[in-house]
Amino acid sequence: MRYILKKALSMALTLIVVSFCVFLAFSLIPGDPVTRMFGTEATPELLAQYREKMGLNAPLIVRYFRWASAFVQGDLGTSYNYKIPVAGMIAEKIPITLTLAIMSFVIMVVVSIPLGIYTAKYENGLIDHIVSSLNQIIMAIPPFFSGILLTFFFGVVIKIFTPGGFVSYTKDVSEFLKYLILPAFAIALPKAAMATKLLRGSVIEEAGKDYTRTAYSRGNTTNAVLYLHVLKNAMIPVVTFMGMALADMVAGSIVIEQVFGIPGISRILLTSINNRDYPVVEAIIMGIAIMVLVVNFLVDIIYRIIDPRIEAGK
């Protein structure tokens, strides 16, 4: 319990630091929001009036606290381009991106754990050689290209996938999920390859440790040694990797959404970056940052569950 509290506290602290950095970075950009709001029709009086009204003359730290407390209350600012609240713009997009990332994560876990165990168990066997070589190649295929290849194969060759046939979750959840399967695979493939390779190596390393000999000496079968003794130890580095992979997948879905024409946060983020619509970019980045930190926090807790050696102090 003390461990969880400690980790939560450290997460909150990091969040404050990160949010301040993000806020600071976007405050340093030349050209303030008021100038951008009015564009060419701005007069100096109007600008000054609005600056005062929006509190832009206050010291940085005060503005940060205003921004942060507004953020916590769900006020993510107003888009320069669309003049509407950012929160509304991204609220219905987040579930799409998040679903995609979580689906990819599930695929990675489901594929890599059995494969990693199998290839480690039959080290240097035929399947191990095939999987290991394939892994090496899959790791080199960027998700956006594997996305295109998957679209080509399933959409053109065997015709069971309709490219661009995205259905929103508000209309039909199962169609929505069905459409996300291929994109999720595209994101998951390289990560699954890495996780398989990592788990394989980790299982092989753990299997050579003294405690497995002890386990055999008690009459355990090879499978019992593998599943009851080795696996939990071998999962420790894999959990770290998978936590980082989940964060990567959230970011990776930004690219894949473009490939598959999925209207997630990617499109808004990219247009906002191109249009320098900073409040939107800022809000999305903060959103992803929060997700990353929460994932890290969860990984820490899972870590603590599987590895008792991690003490509350560290």
């Binding site: 405690y211 000999r213 002890t214 055999y216 000496s217 008690r218 009459g219 355990n220 079968t221 050696r309």
Partner: protein, 291 residues
Amino acid sequence: MKQNFGDSGTVTSDIYITYQMGNTMNNNVILDVTDLHIEFHDHDKPETVVEDFDLMLEAGEIVGIVGESGSGKSMSALAIAGLLKRHALTKKGKIMFDGTDLLTCDRKTLRSYQGDEISMIFQEPMTSLNPVKKIGWQVEESLRIHHKEMDKAERKRRALKMLEAVGLNDLERPYDKYPHQLSGGQRQRVMIAAAMIAEPRILIADEPTTALDVTIQAQIVELLRKMNREKGTAIIFISHDLSLIRQICSRVIVMQNGNIVETGNVEEIFKRPSMNYTRKLIAAIPQIDLD
């Protein structure tokens, strides 16, 4: 604790009694190893690590195997425990236990003995326990594997009793602790508890005290003798340290380069070592250990 120290004061007489017990009360051979050969094939040329190894173990006796590192003593022990890895080596000879040749029997039969009839403890208490499993779980494991009829509560009862028997009762809730929370000596006690819980007929102790400091060493040796006395478990005690062997064993086998160079009663060998090698081993003992 107090009793332990009292005991170690009368080392020789105690050994004598154990030895006598082994000979008079239980004159049946439980393990008969003949002509054991082990060859490694890791490199181009096969390398013989054990040659013509013979060992007869009677119920309840403690036999020592002594030798320098690389003398083949650990390999012989691992072979008896059925723990030699299957590939990259050949084994010849016979390891007869209960009418079964452990060297040639199928793995299932071998497993049915491992942990139940033949147990083993190792040199490295720090790494021989699974770091992510609770002590209780590890101590109970042999019961879980070999005595499926036993329920959870009964297993736990026995584990707790065993933890107490190995002197871990001063620890707060040892059952729920993890290995890293224990010292090296405590971990070796856990190893002994886990090895003894199914009350095996043979316990193989491969340098069980080498990684521990001297006072802990004495306690572990005393604990092994207690197990031998109370449960009648025969022990094969492997060490490079003849003085330790002398404290605990009745008979000793001296090994060098994979061969048995001398075998017989410990005291006899101490008084009249026939081989130069044995003399060297005796000479290597610090003088204070000799009486």
